[in-house]
């Protein structure tokens, strides 16, 4: 028994494997659609080699497919990572990125933009949604009493703010029934608006937030313990909590304002990764981000192709595919134990 040692808690092999999967999924994502593009030609175009895509195909690839797939990857990574972080911070496996009122606030912001009436308001929808989400989370913190409120108080404040924002949103919708349809389709989530502009500004915030979260992911494990235990292991739980919630909210609000409310990614992906690797550690956060990206790119592929040329709302796909898969993993985990 001498010199024996236990296995590593986390293997980088897992992360590399998921990164490889993501690369394949991205390729599938840009290749398939109402018009299929050739794999090799795509790769040649990307690397600037001769024999790449030409004319309409090239425009389709560069102006439509690529930004859309990239946005799906960004949003998927943002939602999955924020979900995992919220679940850790609130020590609650059911927590999702929309918990602190970010979704309801963004929904209210979007509705305000749509009911504003003029075309310029409509264009400002992402900005309104973003501000709505951030303000709602800020309000949640303020009514919970103090910055370092305990998780349960924060959660209940989030629910109160969320309900309030939803109520105002419903009132506005009833008064302006003309916007019911666009608001509804926005709530179900959509990536159809993706263009390079959206990808550019979304990537700035999402990459920044994910960078912060993944940098600090190792410390997040401490939040799974009581504050005293975390403190005795050398971290300041309140500081870690505030930074984590701040960064996760930034990622969520950006994702929501770029693509509407895409449900289930924040819950299903972290649990999939934990279930398949049988590890609770937040060291998996980078892997969770990669998995979230792959998951949403695949879901978007389904949304575009299943009823082609018509499109399904992507939220429908994430739930239809995600729910049974999650149940399967949870059951398998219990059996294997």
């Amino acid at each position: 028994m001498k010199n024996q040692e236990i296995d590593r808690i986390w293997h980088w092999r897992t992360t590399v494997f998921v990164g490889f999967l993501l690369a394949i999924v991205l390729l599938l994502g840009v290749s398939f659609g109402p018009i299929s593009l050739d794999f090799m030609k795509i790769l040649r175009t990307l690397f600037g080699l001769s024999g790449g895509l030409q004319d309409e195909e090239k425009i389709l690839f560069l102006q439509l497919r690529l930004p859309r797939v990239l946005l799906a990857a960004l949003v998927g990574a943002a939602l999955a990572t924020s979900g995992a972080v919220y679940q850790t911070v609130f020590r609650n496996p059911l927590a999702d990125p929309y918990l602190l009122g970010a979704a309801a606030g963004a929904g209210l912001g979007a509705t305000l933009a749509l009911t504003g009436g003029t075309k310029s308001f409509y264009a400002a929808l992402p900005l309104f949604a973003f501000l709505g989400g951030v303000l709602a989370v800020a309000a949640t913190f303020i009514i919970s009493g103090k910055a370092f409120a305990d998780p349960a108080t924060l959660l209940l404040s989030g629910i109160a703010i969320g309900s309030f924002a939803t109520a105002v949103q419903t009132y506005l919708q009833q008064r302006n029934s003309a916007v019911l349809r666009p608001v509804y389709s926005w709530i179900l989530g959509q990536l159809t608006v993706a263009d390079w502009n959206v990808v550019k500004w979304a990537s700035v915030y999402i990459v920044l937030a994910l960078f912060i979260l993944i940098r600090m992911s190792r410390l997040l494990d401490g939040l799974l313990l009581s504050d005293e235990e975390a403190f005795s292991l050398g971290i300041s739980p309140n500081k870690v909590r505030i930074i984590a919630i701040g960064a996760a909210t930034l990622a969520t609000a950006t994702a929501v304002s770029a693509s509407g409310l895409i449900g289930f990614v924040g819950i299903v992906v972290p649990h999939l990764v934990r279930g398949l690797t049988k590890r609770a550690t937040n060291r998996a956060l980078f892997t969770v981000a990669l998995s979230g990206a792959a998951f949403l790119v695949l879901a978007d592929l389904g949304a575009r192709t299943l009823l082609s040329p018509a499109e399904l709302p992507i939220g429908v796909i994430t739930a239809i595919v995600g729910a049974p898969f999650l149940l399967f993993v949870l059951r398998a985990k219990r059996v294997l134990k």
């Binding site: 401490g222 313990l225 300041s236 134990k337």
Partner: protein
């Protein structure tokens, strides 16, 4: 060396700890006793540093709130994380030494060794949420042991354990103490406390009532008065004191 000077912790007008001054020499085992609500747990958490306090607590000259010393804490009611197995949980104890999220080869060997010592190897892949109270208690002690702390703070380390595991756990803690670690614990079982700790501090109403060598304190009038005279001290043939609650007085 821990120096506590004029330490107070207040909740509004209520003093949970009321101007406590105490020195705790390195490598000793100090056991806090006293009735419920005497401030024992508050004292432990304040000593850890994660609680606002007036006055000063220093370990080798450094104020504890700065969190610069390697102090292990074994809580009475831990937060038990979902989806984490025993190995992963115990490995958290190495976070301060290895850096969070890393584990050195030394750490992996040490964790393996301690799991064996604590008879936990068999359940190292089990989820911590599935452990019994006693098993969890041993896992907590194991995590504190792998932390290789200079000070170990334990809140009722034996309350969830059966008689056999009470003794084996206390023996492990005593082993730590012999290797130079300072131990501060609470223990509701004063008889057991007196068997292991060389020093006993009686607390009541947030104050230190008496503090001294275990044997002196056990036989003092203050111990009885702290428990409203509801206890009797017997001495066994081998000279060991045994403290029992009085049935008639307990009704009050």
């Amino acid at each position: 060396m821990i120096e506590i000077k004029n330490l107070s912790v207040r909740y509004g007008d209520f003093y949970a700890l009321n101007h406590i001054t105490l020195d705790i020499p390195r490598g000793t085992w100090t056991c806090l006793v006293g009735p419920n609500g005497a401030g024992k747990t508050t004292f432990l958490k304040t000593l850890l540093g994660n609680k606002a306090y007036d006055g000063s607590i220093t370990i080798d000259g450094l104020e504890v709130y700065k969190n610069l010393r390697n102090v292990a804490f074994v809580p009475q009611r831990p937060e038990i994380p979902a989806g984490m197995d025993v190995t992963e949980y115990v490995m958290l104890g190495r976070a301060r030494l290895d850096g969070w999220g890393r584990e050195s080869r030394t750490s992996r060997r040490l964790v393996q060794q301690i799991l064996e010592q604590m008879q936990l190897s068999g359940m190292r892949h089990q989820l911590v949420t599935q452990l019994s109270g006693g098993e969890m208690q041993r896992v907590l002690i194991a995590r504190a042991l792998v932390q290789e702390p200079e000070l170990m703070i334990l809140d009722e380390p034996t309350s969830a354990l059966d008689l056999h595991h009470q003794i084996s756990t206390l023996n492990h803690i005593e082993g730590m103490q012999k290797s130079g670690v300072t131990i501060v614990s609470t223990m509701h079982d004063i008889t057991l406390g007196a068997m292991y700790a060389e020093r006993i501090v009686i607390m009541q109403g947030g104050k230190v009532l008496l503090d001294g060598p275990a044997n002196d304190v056990i036989h003092s009038a203050q111990l009885k008065s702290a428990f409203d005279d509801a206890i009797t001290i017997h001495t066994l043939d081998n000279g060991r004191p045994v403290i029992v609650a009085n049935k008639s007085a307990a009704i009050l």
